[in-house]
Amino acid sequence: MTFRQFAYRNVVRNRRIYAAFFLASVFSVMVFFLYSMLMFHPGIGERFITGITLIGMTAADVVLYVFMLFFLFYSMRAFMQARSGEFALLLQIGMERRQLGKLLLLEMLLLGAASTASGIVLGFAFSKYFFMIVRELLQLPTLPLYVSWEPFLMTAGAFFSLFLLIGLLSAYIVSNRDISEFRKGIGGEADPFGYSPGRAAAGILLLLSSYGAALLAGRVNVLYLSVLLPPAATLGTYYFFSHSILYLLDLFRDQKSLYWKRTRLVSLAETAAKLRDNANMFFIVAIVSTVAFLSVGTLASLATYTAQYRALNPLGLVYESYPGNPHEYEHVTGLMKELENAGLEYTHVPLTVAREESSFSGQPINILREGEVNLLAETLGAGPVQLRPGEAVFLPYSTEAAPRLQDADIQTELEESGVEVHVKGVVGGLLLPAYSLGTNSVVVSETDFVKVASAQTDSLLHIHAFDVPDWEETVGIGLSIEQAMVMSEIQQGEALPYYFKNPGLDYSIIRSTFHLLLLTGLLVAMVFLLAAGSFIYFKLYTMLDRDRRQAAVLKRLGMTEREFIKIVNRQLIPQFFLPWGIAMLHSTFAFISLQAIWKEFADISILNEMALVLVGFTVIQLLYFYLIRWRYLAHVKGPA
């Protein structure tokens, strides 16, 4: 047996211990590789694989990398802690510290090489499916598989350097310790049987105040909150697991009537001991899960925005022509021709808009014509308005604005034409989105409109509204106009005398971007969850020997299968659901503040998505719990 064989056997024969760690690493490498495959895709720059996709992939890769750095470091510490007895023995029988360092480095490199290689192989195997999903999300005609050395080199380089770094670090840590330190156990220096009341109180206070602040979000400065809340909540969580929980248990212990009851005495003491031992792990799992919940939840709430997009954009195409636009006829007929060529049904409703100052508010308002608006309303399936001369109704700019305007009752004079109107009520339904007219529009009767229009024939706006039932199919329509607008924006020349909006095109970009980000976030969250699970799994395994002996004794004492499962449950449930519960609580409050922030500028509700995300994660957590419990029971009951 050579030294290298020794290192190899250490890893391979301890594969049960390393299994979950290995799985999490492999999955992370795989996801990293998939993202890199997309980043280096030769088709990048075409269509939608541009800007935001590239940024999203790069950000996800960076997040994965940084997360893996912490994950590996913490796992390495846990491994070293569990193996400190073994290290003490090796040093005692004459291993040099340098050799011990080399051993750890070799083991880490072995694990690193194996997980990097497996991750890349798996990633390459799945890249075809990944590309299919991405192609579907981005609605690309094709996204061919390609083979190039860049993603391979980048993934292998990134992760191998990571494992090398952690290996060197562990070698360094280990070669600076004495046998006696290993005998005491690494990380065992803090007093395990105590908590500081100050920190216990600080933990609870920090958490409560973070929750309180999250509830007030929207009323307080959002920027302050986003800077202050996460660190406060993180510190609070740390103190909560390392001090507050023990404090709460102590409080419970004082209630002798509750505590000195049947098996509670034992089981509570045992729980307290486990909590103390695993406080750091609980903290990390809770924070990692919170980040996973939040990233998916945030992205899901962005996806909500696309769902409500249609409600905000009832029209297929909108072309606005300002006074003195020479292209109006050419553009509008062009659009019609393009729609016909694409085989899309449409209804064209031209609208005339006058602008005058209102004596009531002193602001310019848009004035639309009853007949034309009714035509548009009919096309969109909304009810018509009936106006007598002197009467007017508001044209709401969003569905949320309608009820507010409904109650308004205003008497005003249109200053230039001198027409007096009484504005009361709204047009049913949203007809024109806010971007086309702004927020201040009224509809007047035919007679009044003629008066207004005759006062200012040369400054009338024309809006060409196209209702297209298959509005998502309009992606290719009006591209030349769109390009002219983009060009003028880039050159910062004179403002164009027209404005064109194709919600179908914007929608497809927004939708695909959000969905791609959601996919990215989901995969990253999966990595987080696997990593969190791997911590729990590892801690369970280091305890396995002791638990197995205990199980054998209990069985001899005549414990039934059901009672045994009950005891195992009592040990596993806190480990699984305590960090999870805290993470749920954190996420819920974070979502509440997120909702408040959304409300500020998009006026949409993310309640359903939040609930869906939290329920989804709960289901996954339950499945995970049963899976681990099944494996754990099999091992505890099985032979050594």
Partner: protein, 257 residues
């Protein structure tokens, strides 16, 4: 010249309560001697072994092993010194669970980068001697406690150390397995002239030795030498222990048949 010489060694542990583990202890061990160290719990026996193996440094005084002071060595030289000159046998065997019996035995040689052929030859020789040939490819979990301790002894001897330090080697064994292990240690001591220093609570184990050193509260208390019959030696050890006092629970109540 003695192979181990302890001169006026004091070891003090600083802590919340300062504790004097060894108090001006002096004694010598001759080459080829089988020495037992006895004393009540907390008398400093394990501390003594740690000082000899260089895991701990004395607060004052001198520990010399083959003329070398382990506390004066640099860490790497100390490790090399340990793996060439010292062998260790522990109460709870301390075999590595993931290695087979053979691999456990060969481990000290691996650390010294010996050629594989040489390692094989040495393992073959030692396992034939200890009767371990049949279980070479088993894991420590699959063999009995007595076998485990014999594997641990093989590991302690495979690199031909000049001194073997044993910390309660029979503490976890039943009386049969204990007797086998003690017989084995005695045979190796006689045939190889390997020096043994064994810390023990067990007067039966001590009665296998050439000399028994008694320490109390970290200080030298007394010593007795072997005589012709082990049974009378054993009785003298018991008498000395009762003089020494200490916790009765520490002493084995089993007498030789």
């Amino acid at each position: 010249m003695p192979i181990v010489s302890i001169e006026d060694v004091i070891k003090i542990y600083e802590g919340k309560v300062t504790h004097r583990a060894l108090d001006r202890l002096s004694f010598d061990v001759e080459e080829g001697e089988f020495l037992a160290v006895m004393g009540p719990s907390g008398s400093g026996k394990t501390t003594l072994l740690n000082l000899i193996s260089g895991i701990d440094m004395p607060t004052s005084g001198k520990v010399l092993i083959k003329g070398t002071d382990p506390s004066a060595l640099r860490p790497d030289d100390l490790a090399r010194f340990r793996r060439r000159e010292l062998g260790f046998v522990f109460q709870d065997f301390n075999l590595l669970r993931m290695l087979t019996v053979e691999e456990n035995i060969v481990l000290p040689l691996t650390l010294d980068r010996l050629p594989v052929a040489e390692m094989d030859a040495r393992v073959k020789a030692i396992t034939a001697r200890l009767g371990l040939e049949g279980i070479l490819h088993k894991r420590p979990d699959e063999i009995s406690g007595g076998q485990e301790q014999r594997v641990a002894i093989a590991r302690a001897l495979v690199h031909r150390p000049s001194i073997v330090l044993a910390d309660e080697p029979t503490g976890n064994l039943d009386s049969n397995a204990a007797r086998e292990v003690l017989d084995l240690l005695g045979t190796i001591n006689r045939e190889n002239r390997t020096t043994f220093i064994m810390v023990t609570h067990d007067p039966i184990a001590a009665s296998y030795c050439d000399r028994v050193l008694f320490i109390k509260d970290g200080a030298y208390y007394n010593e007795i030498h072997k005589d012709d019959r082990r049974r009378t030696f054993f009785q003298r050890i018991l008498n000395m222990l009762s003089l020494l006092g200490g916790n009765v629970d520490d002493l084995s109540s089993v007498r030789l048949p």
